[in-house]
Symmetry: C2
């Protein structure tokens, strides 16, 4: 039995990938109507409820999580009672942008310039180091563009510091980038590692819209070098997503997520083994599955609403993945994977899909 | 909500394929510990319990089934209250070998010679028509070699008639065949049809052991012609498996199954869209998914026991599918799909897999 902290779409897709391996699942999640409800037992309650964490630990062989804001105390409590992967150190590192960026720096992994900021005067002096424009980011709990402020001119400093809530932060120099890319990496309990082909990503309003697999990309080797350093430094176990910017010949790491990742969803229909199955194989110490792409592949997120299944499924390269959530503006409701061995058909079908969701 | 009569491994795999489409499932099954239990609600009871059939009909939009021995009365009862696919006519035809073979004959679909047998004298005179050797088969409820007797010499006639229980039967001439093959076909409510590449099958003790996809097989066109006639004659909806023998240039139909089929399991990892998803698309009237193979593909059944996951998953082409059943001699416990775009690797991995299960 596998325990999952969080019962959202990532838990749902972990369960779907795990049943064929003979696994069963239980989630801990405080919410009603979670989208893994039909696929896993739910222990309903908060992540810091020690009675519920104990109950979870007693039911399972191993615990994993689908979001990186798992309270550190919950992870520590669980790790005394059972096995939790990815390891606590990865969680602690991913939860704090300063610790995370410092780890990259210490591992000689290239990043945009960054400086710690604990006050408005800190921010003012930091600008001399990182240069204009820059981005102010809370150290903790930001995601999808929240907890961030863009700084373009001196007047933005005080406004930005107020807007992020005057909490511990970092400021990062803005490097004009050519592409946003990500690397889905996986490391098993046995130390075995595997890497998917790089994914090229397009965001809109801070939310991922489209990913495309880019096998044989010129940046693959360097991205894998970065990921290998990080996986080993963290004694990592599971899937890890490394978010990167390419700026000319430079490859800058933005952040990592210690979990299966939206930019890896294309692997469900576009790779030999999907990221969800490989995450489970990794945490169980099973041999990792092949990560090769099986054709031209990509993904389009469905935000806020889902087009008709008929319209989607008549696109020959399309595979529909619905999360069974109540619709809400800005909510990730599902995604469409596209895979075709013919590049021209793939490109045309991707365009048809994009037209479908922009109607 | 989709209702499924039967909650075995086929129901389990239908559910796994259906969740991404946003579907939910309820089964009707009399057994404890069914292997779809974690993936679908279960109404527990017999298939002829009208109160339970009513309860099922009230919960669902549509009912399908995972085995062809659904009582005709249950199908009739359900079809008055909800939609049931594949249609009753397909069920009635598949349940009776005489009706089934007669249907093939009427559609000009080639079969071995067959004669109805209702008594030992019938059987004796039938032998003049079908020739020696021959196979005596009960009209109803035989599967995996049960309810059959091979007739090689005159002494076998009385023995065979007794062994099948002296029930209504047919006797079929034995045609020495070169290959056992099957065609997984699918027809939607809209009339759209699709066909997977032919599958070549090896049985052992009457139970399927190994299937291999055979794209571009010389018999594909004729097999599709047979299937098209049958699908249209039955006004069929869903996946249908046509079991065939090739004897020289002749392609003889043995029987059909009105459901997803063990010889189509390779499509889960070896085709663009698997048979389970296409069955659901068909019964819902959604566009059918592409049926192309994505590489060299095959399947090995796991009978009675499951090798260690570690041993299986270190085979690079292997995908493990466990049914979560208690082990029992002769029981289908799971299967291993193999897929590789490199033929030599596929062949080697298939051999490694076969060695693994024969240990």
């Amino acid at each position: 039995m596998i325990g999952i902290l969080g019962g959202g779409q990532l838990a749902r897709m972990l369960a779907l990938a795990g049943y064929p391996l003979g696994l069963n699942f239980v989630t801990l999640d405080p919410a009603d109507d979670i989208c893994s409800a039909s696929l896993a037992q739910q222990i309903k309650g908060n992540y810091n409820n020690t009675a519920l964490l104990t109950k979870l630990a007693e039911k399972v062989d191993i615990v994993t999580y689908e979001f990186e804001n798992v309270p550190a105390e919950a992870a520590a409590f669980l790790s005394d009672k059972t096995t939790i992967y990815p390891p606590k150190l990865a969680l602690a590192t991913a939860q704090d942008r300063l610790i995370e960026k410092t780890a990259f720096h210490d591992l000689d992994i290239d990043t945009a310039p960054f400086v710690e900021v604990n006050s408005l005067p800190d921010l003012k002096s930091a600008m001399d180091i990182v240069g204009w424009p820059a981005v102010l980011k809370t150290r903790r709990e930001g995601y999808d563009g929240k907890g961030q402020a863009v700084l373009r001119q001196p007047e933005d400093l005080a406004k930005g510091w107020t807007s992020i809530g005057e909490v511990p932060a970092i400021v990062e120099g803005f490097v004009p980038f050519d592409r946003e890319i990500s690397l889905i990496a996986v490391r098993s309990r046995t130390g075995e590692t595997a890497f998917y082909p790089l994914t090229e990503n397009k965001h809109h309003d801070g939310v991922l819209r489209v990913s495309r697999a880019r096998p044989n990309d010129a940046m693959q080797t360097l991205a894998e070098e970065y990921a290998t350093k990080l996986l080993n430094a963290l004694d990592y176990v599971g899937v890890l997503a490394l978010e990167l910017f390419q700026a000319g010949d430079r490859l800058l790491v933005n952040e990592f997520a210690p979990r299966v990742h939206n930019t890896g969803h294309w692997t469900q229909d576009g790779a030999v083994t999907c990221q969800f199955e490989n995450h489970l194989r990794a945490i169980l110490g099973l041999p990792l599955g092949a990560t090769d792409a099986i054709g031209h592949a990509g993904m389009v997120n469905l935000i806020g609403e889902i087009p008709s299944s008929t319209a989607v499924l008549k696109i020959s390269s399309a595979h529909l993945h619905i999360y069974d959530k109540a619709p809400r503006i800005g909510r990730k409701m599902g995604h469409i994977n596209l895979m075709n061995q013919d590049q021209a058909v793939f490109e045309a079908d991707l365009q048809t899909t994009l037209n479908l969701i922009s109607d």
